[in-house]
Amino acid sequence: MTDIHVSSPPTVGGGRHLLEVKDLFVEFHTRDGVARVINGVSYHLDPGETLAVLGESGSGKSVTAQAIMGILDMPPAKIPSGQILYKGENLLAMPEEKRRQVRGKEISMIFQDALSALNPVFPVGWQISETLRTRAGMSKKDALNRAVELMDLVKIPAARARIRDYPHQFSGGMRQRVMIAMALAMDPKVLIADEPTTALDVTVQAQIMDLLGDLRRDLNMGLILITHDLGVVADVADRIAVMYAGRIVEHADVRNVYKHPAHPYTEGLLDSIPRLDSKGTELATIKGLPPNLMRPPTGCAFHPRCKYAKAVCTTETPLSLDLGHGRTSACHFAKEMLDGTLR
C-alpha cells in the first residue's frame, strides 16, 4: 500500500471481466428538476463470483442494476455517460432488439417483493416456462417439464403438483424461489438479486441466501447481491461495493472490509450491524439523512454526516483512491482510515 493513485476499477488477472460497469452516470429528469442519482459508478463481476452492493435506501443500488438490465424508463431516466460492458460489448450502445436478447438469457434479475413482481393472473409454471416457450422455442409440454426441473432446483417441494398454482398461493419464501427459478430458466451467466430477502422472515432469509450461494457455485454464475444489510453478506459475498449518493465509496474484499473499513461511511454501516455478543447495548447508527440528490452537498457528499469531516471535505470531491489489492476508497483520508490514525 505504498503509492496511492487515482484508479480505474481494479482489474483482477488483467483480462476482461464478465460484466463491467464503467463510470456510469444516471439522472432523472422530473418536474422538480434533475436528480443526479448515479455519479460515476464502476464495478465489475467475474463468473462464479459474488459482489455485494451495499448502501442506505436511495443510494442508487437498484438504479444501477436497472441500468445494467436496461429496464430503466427513459424518460424520466437518462444516461449521459458511462459504459456497461458484458463480455466486452457495451450494452448501452446496443440496439434495443439485441439488448433484449441479453435480458433474461445472459443477465437475469430477481426483485425484493416476489408477490408484486410475479404476475397475479398466471400460474407459476406458465411464468417460469414463458421464456422457454417464447424465446427458446420449446413446446409447451417440454417447457413445463423444464419448469418443474427448475422448481426442483430451487427446492420447491412437490413441484409438479404446484405448477398450476398461482403466486398468491405460495408462502413468501416459496414465492421468492419461484422468482429465482424463473430467472434461471435461460441459464444466465449473471444474476442480479435486488434485496431478495428484505420482505422475508429471518429464518427464511437465511435459506434463500444459502440457496443463492449454492446456485451461484453450482451454475458458475456471477451474482450481484444488492442489500442494505451488511450482516447477511459476510458469509456469501466475495467482494463488497459500498454506495453512497450514487457513488461507490468503498470497494474491497469482504474480509478486508470487516477488519479495516477504508471509508468512514463503511465504518458507520459496520457499527450499525446488530451483533449477537452485544445484545442490549445500543446500536450506533449513522446520524443524519442521505442527501437530496437534486441539491447534493459540495465536496464529499458524506461530509454533513461524517464524524471525521475536515475543511477540505466541504470543498473538494474525493476521488476513488486505489489502495492496492483491488481495494478503493473515495475519502480524502482513506490511508489514515486504514492506519487507524484518523481522528
Binding site: R100, G104, M182
Partner: protein, 308 residues
C-alpha cells in the same frame, strides 16, 4: 369457488324477492285506480266494478296478491296487459329488438372505448390521449335525451345516412345508429376506465419482471398488462348492461323502436300497471343473471378471487 357460487346464488334470490316486492308495493300504493284505468274514459258502474275486483283478485290483501303474482311469475305466467294482451307476447316481440340494440351498443363500446382506452393508456400524455380525453368529456357531458335526438337529426335528416326511425320489423342496419348512440355513453366511460387500468398495470412490478425476462414490448403489453386490465373492464361491461337498459328507454323512444324500453315508456304513460310490473320483473331477472355472469367471469379472470 363452490361456496362463492352458492353465496352469490343465494344473494341473487334475495335481491330478486326484494326488488320485485318493492316494485309491486310501489305500484300497489301509487298506481291509480286500476279498474278506472282499464275502462278508460267511460264511467264504471258498481256491479261491474265489484265483478272486476273479484276477477282480478283486487279484494285480496296486499301480501296475498304479491304472493300470487310471484308464483305466477315463477310459472312463466306474467299475466295480461290492461287491454288483455298476454304480457309474455308483448315481451316476446320486444326483447329480440332490444337485445340486438344492446349487442350493437356493447360491440361499439368494446370496439371504440376499450381500444382507444388501451392506446391512450399506453401513450399517456400524447396527442391521441388528450384528444380522446376532451371528446369523452364532451360525450359524458351530454345526456342521452339530448344526444339521441341530436344524432337522429344530424345523421338521418341532415345527412340522410341512416333511416330516421326503425319501426316494426327493424333490420340490423336500421338499428345501427340507435345502437351507436346507446353505446356512445358507455364508450366514454369504458375508455376512461380502460386507460386508467392499463396505465396503472403498466407501472406494476410484474411488468418490470416481464421486461427483465426479455419479453418484447408487444408481449409485455398484449399479454401481461392486458390480461390484468381485463378484470375491471369485464366487470364494467357487465354492470353497464344495466345502464344500457335505462338508456334504451330514451333511445328506443326517440327512434321509435318497439323494444322493451319503448314498451315500458308506453306502459308508464298509459298507467298499465301489470305491464310495468311484468317488464320490470323481467329486467330485474336479466340484470341479476348478468351480474352473476360477471361475477363468474371475474372469478375466472382473477385467480385471487377464485381461491379465496
Amino acid at each position: 369457488m363452490f361456496r362463492y357460487l352458492v353465496r352469490r346464488f343465494l344473494q341473487m334470490i334475495m335481491v330478486f324477492f326484494a326488488t320485485t316486492f318493492i316494485v309491486y308495493a310501489l305500484m300497489y300504493w301509487t298506481g291509480g285506480d286500476p279498474i278506472q284505468a282499464l275502462a278508460g274514459e267511460k264511467p264504471v258502474n258498481d256491479v261491474l266494478r265489484a265483478q272486476l275486483t273479484k276477477e282480478y283478485g283486487l279484494d285480496q290483501p296486499f301480501l296475498v296478491r304479491y304472493w300470487n303474482y310471484i308464483t305466477d311469475l315463477l310459472h312463466g305466467d306474467l299475466g295480461n296487459t290492461l287491454v288483455g294482451r298476454p304480457i309474455k307476447d308483448v315481451l316476446a316481440d320486444a326483447w329480440p329488438i332490444t337485445i340486438q340494440l344492446a349487442v350493437i351498443a356493447i360491440v361499439v363500446t368494446i370496439l371504440f372505448g376499450v381500444t382507444a382506452g388501451v392506446i391512450a393508456g399506453i401513450r399517456r400524455g400524447s396527442i391521441f390521449d388528450n384528444t380522446t380525453l376532451v371528446l369523452t368529456l364532451i360525450v359524458i357531458g351530454i345526456p342521452s335525451v339530448v344526444l339521441a335526438p341530436l344524432a337522429q337529426y344530424l345523421f338521418t335528416i341532415q345527412w340522410k345516412i341512416f333511416p330516421t326511425t326503425a319501426g316494426g320489423d327493424a333490420s340490423l342496419w336500421d338499428l345501427l345508429l340507435p345502437g351507436i348512440v346507446l353505446g356512445s355513453l358507455s364508450v366514454a366511460t369504458a375508455m376512461r376506465l380502460t386507460r386508467a387500468s392499463v396505465s396503472e398495470n403498466l407501472r406494476a412490478d410484474f411488468v418490470r419482471t416481464a421486461r427483465s425476462k426479455g419479453m418484447p414490448g408487444r408481449r409485455v403489453i398484449g399479454i401481461h398488462v392486458l390480461r390484468n386490465s381485463l378484470i375491471p373492464i369485464v366487470t364494467f361491461l357487465g354492470v353497464e348492461l344495466g345502464s344500457l337498459m335505462a338508456g334504451a328507454i330514451v333511445t328506443e323512444g326517440v327512434f321509435n323502436i318497439p323494444g322493451v324500453g319503448y314498451q315500458l315508456s308506453k306502459a308508464l304513460t298509459t298507467e298499465d300497471t301489470p305491464l310495468i310490473i311484468g317488464i320490470v320483473s323481467v329486467l330485474v331477472v336479466i340484470f341479476l343473471v348478468a351480474n352473476l355472469i360477471v361475477d363468474l367471469l371475474y372469478a375466472v379472470l382473477d385467480p385471487r378471487i377464485r381461491y379465496e
